[in-house]
């Protein structure tokens, strides 16, 4: 068998393609669980928004659309650099792979930085989730619930960004070590898939939270 020739091949697979396909199926299944995890929050948001449309409308005005827009651009760009990293790995451009991975991490950092600015602004104004909400001068009751969802959804998303940074850093280390070739780049590919999903979730979060009408 060719096992010895391909050190990355685990003992229970016979071909590299089989192993890569299995990895891909596993990753997509995992992404589906992520969709449904966030999905629960989306469903809750939709129903609560339906019950309290006026409160949600008023509350969302406290969000900064410009920052939300910038963050969307940042995250879309990071998706681009990530897919370019995958492309570089496929084509054995190790230098470019490293650069693109670094860029992706940098974008992720910028995203979290902006999120931090937004959060501290909200904290300052008393726009906190649930019982900690103490913003003065509300005209419509129930605005706290919007912020319950805002913090849960963006918080969970932020945790995923953090997880993504860790995963990309791990891939980066392996890339520097020279683990990848056009025959074996599954880790880059899979982390890329994860990263794009985090992007897709933000694509929905942005209009739902920042652009309600």
């Amino acid at each position: 068998m060719s096992v010895a020739a391909e050190p990355f091949l685990q003992h229970h697979f016979t071909t590299a393609e089989q192993q890569a396909d299995a990895g891909k199926i596993g990753m997509w299944l995992f992404l589906v669980t992520e969709i449904l995890l966030f999905g629960g929050l989306f469903v809750g948001f939709a129903i609560m928004q339906g019950l309290h449309p006026e409160a949600f409308l008023q509350a969302h005005r406290h969000l900064d659309r410009t920052l939300g827009f910038i963050n969307t651009v940042v995250l879309l760009s990071s998706s681009y650099t990530m897919v370019m990293a995958v492309w570089s790995a496929q084509n054995e451009r190790r230098k470019r792979l490293i650069v693109y991975l670094l860029l992706t991490i940098a974008f992720a950092g910028v995203f979290l930085g902006i999120k931090y600015i937004e959060y501290s602004h909200k904290f300052h104004e008393g726009l906190l989730p649930g019982r900690f909400y103490h913003h003065a001068g509300d005209t419509v009751p129930g605005q706290f619930m919007f912020f319950s969802f805002y913090f849960m959804m963006t918080g969970l998303h932020g945790l995923h960004i953090l997880g993504g940074i860790v995963a990309i850093s791990w891939v980066l280390r392996r890339a520097i070590r020279g683990d990848f070739s056009h025959k074996y780049y599954t880790p880059v590919d899979l982390v890329g898939l994860y990263w794009h999903l985090v992007d897709v979730i933000w694509i929905y979060l942005f209009p739902l939270l920042y652009l309600i009408k």
């Binding site: 199926i25 596993g26 992520e34 995890l37 629960g40 019950l51 619930m145 319950s148």
Partner: protein, 534 residues
């Protein structure tokens, strides 16, 4: 003796760090059996308390914790991982002719996640217990001061263990079948596990977010389920049952999968309607996502939703019925021998028939309104879960026991235990159908005097059940203490898992098997074990 997965490599560390699906399966088996024991102890306590109305041996607060823990442990720690994670882990790769599951390290991780979840559950038990019932209904669960936080965290963690097992199995079935094993040459057990894994992956995340929302509600008062803050407590039930109804099929589908294996072997006959059984598993998985609202017929859910959910619920009856008829047809003109696995399989057929048929009562709106939240539901649920899944689990355990441990057990005692369990089960739960029909609500500590005779009857049944399980524990323990004596293929089965040693070698097969026959080809004389034992 030839080296096998049990003997090499040696040492505790080699077990704790193993990525061998067989060892992980065995570790799961030990863990879930312990959970089953624990849950069983709580069950016996419940039954003793219900011997008399009012206080028998414990206070109402204690009783509420005991039935909650019985439910939570049995559901989250025993029955959901029971068949897939223990027996499935062990035999699925063998049946497919694979050396391992697709992601062996993930497999080990999901075991440790399970252990972590179990420890959290124990944490909840010792820090005051939980008194919400395993269903965690809001606003009770968000206002009670028992350890709901820890228990929801435990269930959350256990959910991830379940998800990872599901992901692993789907990838394994897709990519690791032996050469020649097309989808329709796959054993039906694999089909059942596949359908189960689909539900595990698609439904469990919603449980995760639901439990997280309860935690958030308790910590932050986020308001979503709190009517005083403008939330909707009924919405919680949607969230909960969106997972927990499909979860019932996570529990029963693997049971059905085992029955599809055991009946052909012990009837020595080709399975009847292979494709119908395979497709019905997938159909059940698909429909399982469309029926959760039948838990909410009296919850204040809209009448329109009630009608739609009621209708869809009845559709589940069809694939379930199809399976039962196919199994019975498999026995027709067979060569039936009644060894312990077959006894449990037949128990399954009879008890699951009752469990399934009483489901019709609960799907029919007008009748369900009366029976909902009574002992009728308790009895129905136990007929499906214990009469169904647990019987199937026991069938599988006895069927694969020689394969897993290379040892035979006392057939005589196994039959005695099977008989006791069957009788005890019926005494315990048939009476509960009558109790519920007459208006005995569930989760009642105190009850009207008129119900006492039936409660006593039921409690006595639980003791018979317990005796059956003690005997089983005894002869299985004795079996483990003796040297390996099981032949490679004691039942004359044709499945791939029987074409290797008992217990199997570390990497399952000496040579990668090539599949040319269907999985239930019993019309040919069964090849003798000596020939295949390479």
């Amino acid at each position: 003796m030839e080296p096998n997965y049990l003997s090499t490599p040696r040492g505790l560390k080699s077990w704790l760090t193993t990525v061998d699906h067989k060892r992980i399966g065995v570790m799961y088996l030990a863990s879930i059996l312990f959970a089953f024991f624990l849950g069983g102890v709580f069950a016996i306590l419940i039954r003793i308390e219900l011997l008399t109305p009012g206080r028998t041996i414990m206070s109402a607060e204690t009783y509420n914790r005991v039935f909650t823990l019985h439910g939570a442990i049995m559901i989250f720690l025993f029955i959901i991982p029971s068949i897939p994670a223990s027996l499935g882990n062990f035999v699925l790769p063998l049946m497919l002719g694979a050396k391992d599951v697709a992601f062996p390290r993930l497999n080990l991780a999901s075991y440790y996640i399970y252990v972590a979840g179990a420890l959290l559950a124990v944490g909840a038990m010792v820090t005051g217990g939980v008194d919400t019932g395993w269903t965690f209904y809001t606003p009770y669960s968000t206002t009670t001061n028992s350890s709901v936080g820890l228990m929801t965290l435990a269930a959350f963690v256990l959910g991830f263990s379940s998800i990872f097992t599901g992901i692993n199995f789907i990838a394994t079935i897709h990519k690791l079948r032996a050469p020649g094993m097309s989808w329709f040459k796959m054993p039906l057990f694999a089909w059942g596990i596949y359908a189960t894994a689909i539900i595990q992956v698609l439904a469990t995340p919603v449980l995760g977010i639901t439990l997280l929302l309860i935690l958030m509600e308790r910590v932050f008062s986020i308001g979503i389920f709190n009517p005083q803050l403008g939330g909707d407590p009924i919405l919680f039930q949607h969230f909960f049952w969106f997972y927990s109804h499909p979860a019932v099929y996570i529990m029963i589908l693997p049971g059905m999968a085992i029955i599809s294996e055991v009946i052909p072997v012990f009837s020595r006959k080709t399975i009847f309607g292979y494709k119908a059984i395979a497709y019905s598993s997938i159909a059940i998985a698909a429909v399982s996502f469309l029926v959760w609202g039948h838990h909410m017929f009296v919850s204040g859910q809209s009448q329109l939703a009630n009608a739609i959910f009621s209708f869809l619920t009845f559709l589940v009856a069809i694939p379930s019925g199809v399976k039962v008829f196919n199994w019975i047809a498999t026995m027709y003109k067979g060569s039936i021998s009644l060894e312990a696995p077959m006894l449990y399989a037949i128990s399954f057929l009879l008890l699951f028939a009752i469990g399934g048929l009483t489901g019709l009562f609960l799907g029919a709106l007008a009748v369900d309104v009366h029976l909902h939240d009574t002992y009728f539901v308790v009895a129905h649920f136990h007929f499906v879960m214990m009469g169904g899944t647990v019987m199937a689990f026991l069938a599988g355990l006895h069927y694969w026991w020689p394969k897993m441990f290379g040892r035979t057990y006392s057939e005589k005692w196994a039959r005695v235990a099977a008989a006791l369990i069957f009788v005890g089960f019926n005494v315990t739960f048939l009476s509960q159908f009558v109790l519920g029909s007459r208006g005995m609500p569930r989760r009642y500590y105190n009850y009207l005097d008129q119900f006492q005779p039936l409660h006593v009857f039921s409690t006595v049944g639980s003791w018979i059940l317990a005796l059956g399980f003690f005997i089983m524990a005894g002869y299985l323990w004795v079996s483990l203490r003796k040297p390996c004596d099981a032949p490679a293929n004691p039942w004359g089965a044709v499945g791939l898992e029987w074409q290797t040693g008992s217990p199997p070698p570390e990497h399952n097969f000496e040579h990668v098997p090539l599949v040319t026959h269907g999985p239930y080809d019993y019309s040919q004389p069964v090849s003798e074990p000596e020939e295949v034992q390479a």
